[in-house]
Symmetry: C2
Subunit: 153 residues, 2 copies
């Protein structure tokens, strides 16, 4: 069973290449909060953006379009031990899909101004969803990541 998807837009980002992102930023819960960019939604889908400005946060589902292949055991950016790929946010996954929560700053037609961007320029967007209280979880345990995360951003 194959599932075929089509991008609904692309990300515009100050990170032009993967190498432009300093890996240590991922260790900070708010490490990307000051990174601004745009989500350009293709015009055929623009009508679907109605009401979106009412939400402060959006879940962006995108394609890791630079990832080639995957390994089930992988060394995360923040660790030097091999970890199961599903316990990491590595782009090299069986299905190269990423999820990032961004902050909505405004909209002009089919362009959303956002912050919290950790994707690179040209990243294909698959979906946008409102982030709701159902997505807010507390009392997290973080496994191998626990002592890698920093307290301040």
């Amino acid at each position: 069973m194959d599932i075929k998807l089509k991008p609904i837009g692309i990300v515009h980002s100050p990170f032009k290449r993967l190498e432009d992102i300093e890996p240590g930023k991922y260790a900070y819960p708010r490490g990307f909060n000051s990174i601004h960019g745009q989500l350009e939604i293709f015009e055929e889908y623009e009508a679907g953006l109605k009401d979106i400005e009412g939400f402060t946060h959006l879940v962006v589902i995108f394609v890791f379009h630079k990832a080639e292949g995957f390994k089930l055991h992988t060394k995360p950016l923040l660790d030097d031990t091999l970890r199961g790929v599903f316990s990491t946010r590595s782009p090299h996954r069986p299905n190269p899909i990423g999820v990032t929560v961004v902050n909505v700053r405004g909209r002009k037609g089919n362009i959303l101004e956002v912050s919290g961007v950790d994707m690179i320029e040209g990243t294909p967007i698959l979906d946008l969803k409102p982030y709701t209280p159902r997505d807010q979880k507390s009392s997290l345990r973080l496994g191998w990541l626990d002592d890698k995360m920093k307290k301040e951003s």
Copy 2:
């Protein structure tokens, strides 16, 4: 540009059909917390589950496999006004992908015991990711959803 994906597993849920889910449950931030189920990861991907038990919460990316077609303006379950589809969590989206955060209760080989299940039996799973402090957002504004969400679960 088409993107081809393949399920890595399926959801086992007490909800056998869409009609088994009482729509009002979506209004409660913890409305599904007591719903237990299993994520069955296909054996070829089992090695990717290493280290996953260390995390309390997982982001599950899945296919709304019962959804057929979409409309850019749609009436959400919790509202009676037409909204832009990207400001809703409707299954009828240009790319029928869902995202739910579940709580990990345990693992036996390729089977994860989880709670917080809002998917139906047989839902194809595309990806699992650890939920981290980078996914925790506060001071949300919720647009049209604001006065539909309830305070208690």
